[in-house]
Symmetry: C2
């Protein structure tokens, strides 16, 4: 039941594409992540995934269209939908998703993070 | 899979203490709410509840202590814990909680909202 300051948590993140857990919410987790560049195309079989932009902007690419997200915008990517976040410049994001969610979904790559740090 | 602009959704809220749904996330809902003044003491039997301050500040009172939350801060109130949000001036908040969550928890009052609007 402590205050979580998002900017303060994000200031402690020093690697792109590496989510860190900042709070638990029922069977979900709240994570912060810094992104830059293009991520892998992937989907999550069973989990909807929320992205909220805290600082900067990025583009959520889907196979048939793209959605630009600015600071103060959120999007929910439904389970089963292929997506790829792309950020031209560094962007700071909050993720909220079930604790079972793997960052690269159905794909394994050098960016897959099996054990997340807690900040 | 649309962009949800939180400030834009909140601009459409014209009543205090009346959450509106802006997105669905698995069995959870994302809501926006404007608060001012002191709410009822209550708890949620089965649901953790996330509060994120989008604009302004408020105090989350617990029976044994209080936590001040500023813009960009979040807090998770665990299930079963009595709490009372208090805002001196109007404060804009995002709530994320299971779809089963009633705003006044175990208490019924004139502020209880059984059917939430979608924005």
């Amino acid at each position: 039941m402590d205050r979580v300051n998002l900017a303060g948590k994000l200031a402690r993140v020093d690697r792109h594409w590496t989510p860190a857990i900042v709070a638990d919410l029922n069977d979900h987790q709240v994570k912060v992540v810094k992104i830059q560049g293009a991520f892998e195309w992937h989907h999550h079989e069973r989990e909807d995934e929320l992205f909220l932009v805290v600082k900067g902007r990025f583009c959520m690419e889907f196979r048939d269209r793209s959605v630009w997200l600015e600071t103060g915008d959120l999007i929910v990517v439904p389970k089963g939908v292929e997506h790829r976040p792309v950020a031209e410049a560094e962007c700071e994001i909050v993720l909220i998703e079930p604790a079972t969610t793997l960052n690269t979904g159905n794909v394994r790559s050098e960016r897959t993070v099996d054990t997340l740090q807690r900040l």
